[in-house]
Amino acid sequence: MARELWEGNQAIAEAAVRIGLEAYFGYPITPQNEILEWLSRRMPELGRAFVQAEAELGAINMVYGAACTGARVMTSSSSPGISLMQEGLSYIAGTEIPMVLVNVMRGGPGLGNIAPSQGDYNQICKGGGHGDYHPIVLAPASVQEAVDLLPLAFDLAEKYRTIACLLLDGSIGQMMEPVELPATREVKRREYPWATTGAAGRQRHVLTSIYLEPTDEEQTNIRLLKRWQAVQENEIRFKEYYLEDAEVIVVGFGTAGRVALSAVRAARELGIKVGLFRPVTVAPYPYARVAELASQAKTLLVVEMNAGQMLEDVRLAVNGRTPIEFYGRLGGVVPFPDEILAEIQRVARDTPAMVDDPAKVWLQRMEDVVKK
């Protein structure tokens, strides 16, 4: 199939349509409005369900209802809207039904701005709502990768009866890149043994997340945990670049990983033995692979567009074996390759000491970086 130039948000929306999205409920919030707008035209034209809800609260609950019927359903939002959806996400997780969430992060906290950020990593990777549960979180670094991961998100959500989140930021959402979209598939309404579709001819189904008896709730939580363990065992994905002889290993996801790749390539030209490890699933996190890489490297350099959220997962995996340095930009600022190259050069030249808190050391250096 030919490649065409597509904007990230629109490509994600169209990909969803082509792989059989049956229902979409959303609300405008920058920088993902194009998803809502694209689907507001495409879904009705195909006779599929579309509602622009009164707010993200309404949208996530419409998704909840639709998911109860077994329909392939999606919503999208950005930072403050995701906060509003957290209640619904928790209910959906507790009811053990599938859905896909597209999360296009922006600067925060609070109203923040509409610029790209990775500041909501913890919010979604550690649950996305109250209670003990984990959504599956996939982090593309390009429009093509987003389009490729979206069908996987639906398949994983349905396989594990869970929430799968496509996690990106405003730059991937809004940039235009050449993309090959998936072929159009027929919509196939699945028959799930639990779906509430009208009880004619069978026992009635009740879908709820309330378990008043604590021992029942504990059983539910154990069920969720066992499924999560299966996800951890089977669904971890990552990409590796130039790692064979790397002494410095840069770790970054999404846009930060993409920018870091440019810096890694530039550093290689300068003869520095550096590589990039880019998690594709940030939940489940590839702890085992990072632990292996920590034994090989002299330094790990974590690059993120936040104050050090994935950094903590790296520290957990490394477990004090290897020095870790951190470089982050905040509030919607996107790092340039030359900044990361400078960091790579610095840590390659002087292997850093082991520190308790890499983010603290980084913050001291930031004073110079952010001087206006």
Partner: protein
């Protein structure tokens, strides 16, 4: 005792009601409302294609009492869940069952917009002037001067505002189809309430728009009255503030002579 034959039977428990005894307090008209819905579902033969949406409130376990599929919504969100279900399964019958804390407090956004969009769902709205399940706190439907656990000196309109008349408010929306208020305090009104519930479900079956039946109901436990006293309190205090009547009946519904 004379022999009982089918010809002698005047009334029995509706089939759409499960055999589970309800957890509602003695005399609570939630039970009456449930019974009327079950009777209508039986009479209209809808049990097999109905999906109910339970609220958070005393009726959080409503799904234990109906022989239909059911889902449980977060507090106030039932109209949004119902929208999601109905948009995916337009030929099924979807109803929400919500209390006044659920619908008129946290759920105001969802109910207004479901009505404004003219979603073809049915909402049964139980108004008993307090948050029952959580212990009788003041609700948006609590009457001026009414004592509750969070308005211990009686609702002071200067500080706590005035109650919301949901039926009148929703009736102003062009998207609303059938918006009525009835009461459950005596046999005549219970009969009228049943007719309204029937009309609401007929509205949905015929695709004639959004229907809501507000049912004035008792809460003996939190009103600190006996069940029979609370029926009188409803008649004397709630009906003057919440008049019974039809606030919006779309022309197509009138024409259908339901």
């Amino acid at each position: 005792m004379a022999t009982m034959t089918p010809e002698n039977l005047v009334y029995k428990r509706p089939l759409a009601f499960t055999e589970t005894p309800t957890h509602y307090c003695p005399g609570c008209t939630h039970g009456t409302a449930h019974r009327l819905i079950a009777e209508v579902l039986d009479e209209m033969n809808l049990v097999g294609r109905t999906i109910g949406v339970a609220p958070v409130g005393c009726a959080v376990f409503a799904y234990n009492y109906f022989e239909t599929d059911f889902v449980e919504a977060p507090h106030g969100r039932a109209p949004a869940m119902a929208t999601g279900i109905k948009r995916c399964l337009p030929d099924r019958i979807v109803f929400t069952y919500q209390g006044d804390g659920d619908l008129a407090s946290i759920g105001t956004g969802e109910i207004i917009h479901a009505a404004a969009r003219g979603e073809n769902i049915t909402v049964i709205f139980i108004n008993n002037a307090n948050f029952g399940m959580t212990g009788g706190q003041m609700a948006p439907t609590t009457l001026p001067g009414q004592k509750t656990t969070s308005s211990p000196n009686g609702r002071d309109v200067e500080l706590q505002g005035y109650p919301i008349r949901v039926a009148e408010m929703l009736a102003t929306l062009d998207g609303a189809g059938y918006i009525v208020r009835r009461s459950l305090h005596d046999p005549t009104n219970i009969r009228r309430a049943k007719k309204a519930i029937r009309t609401a479900f007929e509205t949905q079956v015929r695709g004639l728009g959004f229907s809501l039946v507000e049912l004035l109901s008792t809460c003996p436990s939190n009103w600190n009255l006996t069940p029979v006293e609370s029926l009188t309190w409803l008649e004397e205090h709630m009906i003057p503030y919440y008049p019974l009547g039809d606030f919006k009946v779309a022309p197509s519904i009138t024409a259908a002579k339901l």
